[in-house]
Assembly symmetry: C2
Homo-oligomer: 323 residues x 2
Amino acid sequence: MITFSKALAIIQQEIEAINYPEYPDGLYKPVAYMMSMKGKKIRPALTLLACNLFVEDISEAIKPALAWETFHNFTLMHDDLMDRASLRRGQQTVHKRWNDNTAILSGDAMLILAYKLMEKSPANIMPSLLGLFSRTAAEICEGQQFDMEFENRIDITVSEYIEMIRLKTAVMIGACLKSGAIVGGASERNSEMLYRFGINLGIAFQICDDLLDVYGNPYIFGKNIGGDILCDKKTFLLVNALNLSENEDRNKLLSWFRRKEQQEEKIGYFKQLFDKLKIRQLANATIVTYYKQAMADLDQVSVSSENKEVLKSLSADLMKRES
Amino acid sequence: MITFSKALAIIQQEIEAINYPEYPDGLYKPVAYMMSMKGKKIRPALTLLACNLFVEDISEAIKPALAWETFHNFTLMHDDLMDRASLRRGQQTVHKRWNDNTAILSGDAMLILAYKLMEKSPANIMPSLLGLFSRTAAEICEGQQFDMEFENRIDITVSEYIEMIRLKTAVMIGACLKSGAIVGGASERNSEMLYRFGINLGIAFQICDDLLDVYGNPYIFGKNIGGDILCDKKTFLLVNALNLSENEDRNKLLSWFRRKEQQEEKIGYFKQLFDKLKIRQLANATIVTYYKQAMADLDQVSVSSENKEVLKSLSADLMKRES
């Protein structure tokens, strides 16, 4: 079995070896720029690791892994534009560095490039890989749509929130794993259990992300603390605060919405309300629930425990991460 | 052989039978809206007609045909946004009726839906169909990029212009035909000759389009005459006018750029200059050249002349069209 860092190294090397067409450079330079940003690259690594559960030789999983990473970066390019975000991983976003039209069209090209990579897989598994890819891609668009619709709502239930992050974040983790399993020749049942493992891990992962925005260490986190609070983002924390707060607390919470001034006070108020409602504990308990379910799913995958160790320790690390 | 109108009727019926997911409707309603607009639907009809050259039963060409129509509408949704166009076929564009983010995200979903349709083709031809689809899709993005870059240039050569419309318009006509041929079990050579026929027809078709903007009958054309002139669009006419005009004429032409006032005078000046430089005749001669090449390519396709008649008469009609 390869280690997680070995998988990352392979992905990094393969990304650097991609030659985008030179011409028109206005279309492909932003694609190369986006792909060269420092990202965690967990998703493509999961494809390699999942494949490696079933076969030694993971070379055929590389193109599908790159397809996922390319697809992920496409979603970031369009999401950043839709969110009007200026920075991504400390660098200018594409629509800021170039312009809106560039982010639209280079994003489109990037989605097509992702398909091209996925189409390089062996013909016998191409229908199942592409079916999984397209289904997942559509679900991620649906998740982004729900996320945008949530901006104008204050009555979001926790299960609606979970469904949104399942679509926007978790299905891709599941599909990255499943595609690796398909390349590795896994049984339908093993592929499906890995998919479920990914879904539950992905949900836990996203709630961790929501927590980091408020409780992360700003020096490690890489973003300013409270960014989600300042733009009224409907995170696990805020959705629960809206559901659990009453009377004056809720009115005061609502009165902060859409306010751009007094940033520190706004973050302070939200934090204090989250504390009062014990939302951090609630988030942690929810993370543990999904994490445990993920581990139970992984247990169902019929390969040796030894082989599964790398996914287990990676999962644990993801829950402890600080950025 | 089915007729062109029969092919259109099948496409129309199949489009109406598509059930988009109901939820989230903010994502899929704009997709259905775009697909329900009255368009010429020549592209998907070409897929059916090309298939029908080789086999009686065209049922397996329907999904690929719908994939092309869906893809074409995706490009229109994003192009309209990038061009800030308010109207499309007399109806509000998606970003006007909804908003920019909707046009971005529903467009993305539409591109994915196009792939999903293409993935429904039989497994044995899926690799070649998807390869063609992705290659063509990337080329169309490249064509759109060149078109946008031309906005800021006044030194475009005629061959650069032809290459731009080849990518932006013609490759799709070629690919629609070729995909039908592939479904129909055509030989590599026959598929390739149909592709070339489509490329040359597509180039002739686009130059006709450029001519219609200036010389069309406004009551039949459906758009206001001179729309391209008012936004300084680098059409075949303008590119040639920039290359052929000299001294005062050229300076006067350049002085009209980016001017939004005196619309009638601007259109009048451009028209008079086009006349002086005999650009209409040049455009017609160029159309004839590409059209004749298209017919020569079609002649090379080894099926009976009788079977090719429908594509021949459709091609002739497209050159005589008034809208």
